[in-house]
């Protein structure tokens, strides 16, 4: 098995899967029905990306594991997502700050993967890149409106950025050496992603937080306590009723 490619693909998949699960929390809770539908659409885009990536990870592994096996039957120590996406997201400002960061990162990552030698990853990225462009657009519009809105919305949007920013650094963890030249190296995206984020944050009259990075480790399976709770909810049905279908 190509372990580095498996880990890399699983990292992309788990970022998308855990983001989708957090986004699903907003369904029925968004401030307006229209926003509810928008967030559900975005969550479903992320879930779709996760499904194709998990399926491919299963093929790379070659042990017969399906997307469902990988999504529902791994414990938190075997998830490879960054800590950014697993933390609770029950504040609308946090949700938009997080979506802005994740989607901006993914837009650069997928844009690069479109031209990579791995045809499957290139195909998945080609479809996803249009989806995440819309996610960036949606999050940007909200960050602009809340940041450049009332004093209250400005303060809350800034607090949301402050809460997310320590976890931005982990997105740019360098690539395992064996994959050099075969896929996109996240550490090479740092400048472009941070520049995009700074532009939106500045236009929204907000400040890019100057905070030390939080401890990473998500790509190695070292997560916050929040992931276990998220997985309990996400995996409960499948584990209680193995093989259940619609």
């Amino acid at each position: 098995m190509d372990q580095p490619l498996f880990d890399y693909t699983l990292g992309l998949a788990d970022d998308a899967l855990v983001s989708a699960q957090r986004m699903g929390w907003w369904i029925s809770r968004a401030p307006e029905l229209e926003e509810d539908v928008a967030l559900a659409n975005i969550g479903l885009d992320q879930l779709g990306q996760a499904r194709t990536l998990l399926t491919y990870a299963g093929q790379v592994e070659g042990a017969g594991r399906t997307e469902d096996d990988l999504a529902y039957l791994r414990d938190d120590r075997h998830f490879r997502n960054v800590k950014l996406v697993e933390r609770p997201m029950s504040d609308f400002g946090v949700a938009m700050a997080r979506l802005l960061v994740v989607a901006t990162y993914q837009s650069h990552l997928y844009a690069g993967l479109q031209g990579c030698p791995d045809e499957t990853l290139a195909g998945i990225a080609g479809k996803a890149v249009k989806e995440v462009a819309y996610h960036v657009d949606h999050a940007s519009h909200w960050v602009l409106r809340l940041g450049d809105g009332t004093p209250d919305s400005h303060a809350r949007m800034q607090r949301a950025l402050d809460a997310e920013w320590p976890y931005v650094d982990e997105l740019f963890a360098p690539l395992a050496g064996a994959l050099a030249g075969r896929v996109v190296d996240p550490s090479a995206l740092r400048g472009a992603v941070l520049a995009d984020l700074a532009r939106v944050v500045g236009e929204a009259t907000l400040t890019v937080p100057d905070v030390p990075p939080a401890l990473g480790g998500g790509r190695d399976g070292l997560h916050t306590e929040h992931l276990g709770h998220l997985l309990a909810e996400m995996q409960h049905l499948h584990r209680s009723h193995p093989g259940a279908t619609w």
Partner: protein
């Protein structure tokens, strides 16, 4: 607007009417309405609500309050006078034989 109390919500967001063009060459057709804080967000909400299944290639949103509409009270004076003017309908022409695209 997201203050958790429910105060200052939908009533602050104006109503927008959404028009969708299904494909090039057709007119935009009224699809429904939605609430949004401004025109840009209305366009995005329209995308999410009315073009989820590939219904369109172009969207218009118009603030509902900007639409001047005829009222039921005006129906008689607006529309009845056209009712008996059959010469306005192109029904008095003989269609020549062999003309297919008319």
């Amino acid at each position: 607007m997201v203050d958790g109390t429910g105060a200052g919500r939908t009533r602050d967001w104006p109503l927008w009417e959404v028009f969708v063009r299904a494909r090039r060459g057709l007119s935009h057709v009224h699809a429904g309405s939605l609430h949004a804080p401004d025109a840009e967000m209305a366009l995005r909400n329209a995308r999410d609500l009315y073009t989820r299944r590939g219904e369109g290639v172009s969207l218009w949103v118009v603030r509902a309050s900007d639409i001047e509409a005829s009222t039921p009270d005006e129906r008689d004076s607006f529309f009845d006078p056209a009712g008996d003017k059959i010469y306005r309908h192109p029904t008095f022409y003989d269609v020549p034989e062999g003309v297919e695209h008319l």
